[in-house]
């Protein structure tokens, strides 16, 4: 039981770092992609958060970015093995294009997540990465919006991507 909890926590930390770093590097906090992301960002700023973190969260809602890419990589790795991650990258790219997004963040996030899951496949099974990605998205989108947006804004400022 304890070893399963430890695996789950390590997997969720790996997923969190992967999708936050890739999304911040490809400029999600800089500007809202569609007008709906701008509304969500302004609303989060009104309840006491950071505007750049708000844009980040709005962009995640409005388009399948590296967060969705990490989840899809874990799902396809669980069902099909390493080749599944490559198929997931193609499908996420098509989904990005349907949502008015150039698609760099989603595709490259899927490939990096597949490589990370492959490197960890000796001691963490892929289903822990599925649950870990759900925990990671819960800490961003579902736990406390103002605090999460402040954290994302400070990470974006540290990486120099605003």
């Amino acid at each position: 039981m304890e070893i399963e909890v430890i695996k789950l926590i390590i997997a969720s930390i790996i997923c969190w770092i992967n999708f936050v770093v890739v999304d911040t590097y490809f400029g999600l906090p800089k500007k809202p992609g569609v007008s709906g992301a701008e509304v969500i960002g302004k609303k989060i700023e009104k309840i006491g958060g950071n505007i750049n973190g708000g844009y980040f969260m709005g962009n995640i809602v409005c388009s399948p970015d590296a967060s969705a890419g990490t989840l899809m990589a874990a799902i396809f790795y669980y069902a099909m093995g390493f080749e599944g991650g490559l198929i997931a990258a193609l499908l996420i790219f098509i989904g990005n294009r349907l949502c008015n997004d150039p698609g760099y963040a989603g595709t490259i996030g899927t490939i990096t997540a597949t490589i990370l899951i492959y490197l960890c496949s000796g001691f963490i099974e892929p289903q822990y990465f599925i649950a870990g990605m759900v925990i990671a998205i819960f800490t961003i989108q579902g736990f406390h919006h103002a605090y999460a947006s402040k954290l994302l804004g400070s990470i974006a400022k540290k990486m120099g991507r605003i």
Partner: protein, 85 residues
């Protein structure tokens, strides 16, 4: 009961309750996004096959497209309300 499914189910119940408790229509969308992640994960955990994975990705992308459309509509409505005043 597996710990993976148990974790996802617990998160799903919490997020589902918070969707009902939130008053703002724009702030419901991040919770709905989190719920979609949980749904896609549960689909593939119950149907462990390539077709289950395909179902999960099609469900997730189509739900994201509808979230995109709803968020865009909220933004346009705000613009229309500003011009009506």
């Amino acid at each position: 009961m597996d710990i993976v499914i148990l974790t996802i189910g617990t998160i799903m119940v919490i997020v589902g309750l918070r969707i009902f408790l939130t008053r703002s229509r724009a702030l419901k969308l991040p919770y709905v996004c989190c719920l979609n992640f949980c749904m896609a994960a549960l689909i593939v955990l119950y149907i462990k096959s390539p077709m289950g994975a395909l179902t999960a990705v099609v469900y997730f992308i189509s739900s994201t497209i509808s979230s995109n459309a709803i968020a865009h509509t909220i933004g346009e409505m705000k613009k229309i309300e500003k011009t009506m005043k």
